[in-house]
Symmetry: none
Subunit: 194 residues, 4 copies
């Protein structure tokens, strides 16, 4: 099922697997080709160059994240539980898809020079998602809301990064950590004193 049919899909798949197993800098056209079972040249039929391939992977990740966040935001109609759900969905996406998270958010812009920055606008829409829900709950100016959303975005982003870089306390279970992050996020943004 996975090995037949479209080569393009298999290339992306194996690139992702390699990314996960060996890290970004170990991902090469040759290795992908070997994993897929084709020649490096064949990859160029479907992708202009390596950056294009990575970019396609990023788009895949964006799609996935959008789906995750979308379904999370539909589960609860009450805003506060929805807030929690969305935060958790984002954290879980990062922790469960480290390879996507890495290329989507940790890769330096230097790598992506050849691609239009407008592709990243999509990523910013996630920010608006957070802003929307904050506005719904807290009200307040659009500027304040965006600022808070950005801070929330930072917290979630940092939590995932540290987890993935294995720089967190080894004894701390991921699930506990996630819960705590969401808990603190709520305090930070939805407490009365703010």
């Amino acid at each position: 099922m996975t090995t037949n049919g479209n080569l393009r899909g298999r290339i992306l798949e194996q690139a992702r697997v390699l990314l996960l197993k060996e890290g970004y800098s170990a991902v090469s056209m040759r290795k992908i080709a070997k994993a897929v079972g084709c020649t490096p040249t064949s990859i160029y039929i479907y992708f202009d160059n390596k950056d294009a391939l990575i970019h396609a992977l990023i788009e895949e990740g964006m799609e996935l994240l959008a789906v995750d966040l979308g379904s999370a935001s539909k589960l609860d109609s009450a805003p506060r539980p929805r807030f929690r759900r969305i935060c958790m969905a984002f954290l879980e996406f990062g922790i469960q898809n480290p390879e996507y998270f890495q290329i989507m958010f940790l890769l330096h812009p230097e790598k992506m020079e050849r691609y239009p920055t407008d592709k990243y606008r999509r990523a910013r829409r996630n920010l608006e998602l957070f802003a929307d829900i904050l506005r719904e709950i807290r009200g307040g100016s659009s500027f304040d809301t965006m600022l808070s959303a950005t801070v929330l975005w930072s917290l979630l982003h940092g939590a995932i990064s540290l987890h993935l870089a294995q720089r967190l306390d080894v004894g701390l279970p991921a699930s506990t950590f996630i819960e705590q992050v969401v808990e603190h996020a709520e305090t930070m943004l939805l407490s009365e004193s703010s």
Copy 2:
């Protein structure tokens, strides 16, 4: 002034410059040598290998950060202002020293395999710094304190990362962002409802 005597220093300096300009994966012995104006071989007089060079850079960064945090924590005796100061010092360190921040906190462990993990303990001591001050202000169990410190650590880390990756709103001035992050950190950790 920069081209005199001390080759070792110039190597580190140019490595840092390259890191900043082109990102980690573009930092190579050859490029450093070219930037410094010596042969790649000469680098090996001062560093056993590339990892040793990077590691020296990391240690430099650790030193710098320790100094910054140290002096920040001495400025105020009252815990809450001290809390703010330390958070700001960390954020400013990351924003003003992006190269150091990258290799210290964003580099994947895969790169550093050849070096003992105990070197990273020093980095974790920063975490304890945050924990100490939280304990002083809020009291509470050691476990809760560490959890909160880790979440704070995530927030600060994420804020810097996003800023450095230029993924934040372009119109937002760094200083405003920093202030907001600290503000939210305080709310998150030092509000009554927590």
Copy 3:
């Protein structure tokens, strides 16, 4: 004729030439490439690494030797002349194919670490060839036969080595030397007093 199509063959050929002209330690991927007229990278299309290339050369040599010994052993049905013929065939192989002899028998195992020792079993089968014929002529225990074969093997091996290292008397023609070695071998192993 030598520069056509088959690059793999030309690589092996030039590697052999270099080996002969400059000795093993002077054989490098770069030099081979230069001699062949291609880039070092191209060599890696046909051989995984340098050891694989050397190993291919060894196998070529094994093949050649096997053919030589095989046809020598078929020329005479009487055991004693066959004994002489095989000895001579081995000596001549070594003297006429110094490059092969060097990598097959003089190269230290350190060089070949990456390859399984079972590849060397093939070389030891030559020993059995000698043992077989000794058994046929002299009878005796299997152990004694193997011992004697090993000593014979030493003699032939040493004769070739010294000849190749140009440590023999310059005035001594190779053919005379070879004959004498075989003569002595016969005395050593097939005389009555033994």
Copy 4:
């Protein structure tokens, strides 16, 4: 006792140790210097270049071998036991001093291009030693004697080479092998039928 005083001696010593431990191709000026505890530059005070160092090592080996063979030839006055003793002495020298044997007899002349071949005459004197004793026992023409000595030389040389290259049957104890070689040498050269 070994670390004080003459640096020259310590250099040779450590070069020999390295040769034994890691093989010829791993012996470099840098490694020798590190083992000795001096700088690579210092080596050049005592030796013009690497080849000169190796050559000095070869001379050391020659000396040692000469002493071994000399004392062996003095132990027995009767020629046949003396013959055996000398053969054994040579075999034992090679097996007990693999590093010397390698550079003395296995190193290719290419390595030694820069040195006068007359240095090798000394090595040939060993051949005369064998010739002398053969003449004493068997009589015969000078030419025949030299031929036989050369063949004997081949046998002994080959036996050591194969042993050092670990190409002999693993189950065969060195002492048994040595005895057998000498036994066969005697048969080869001193039997009636010859």
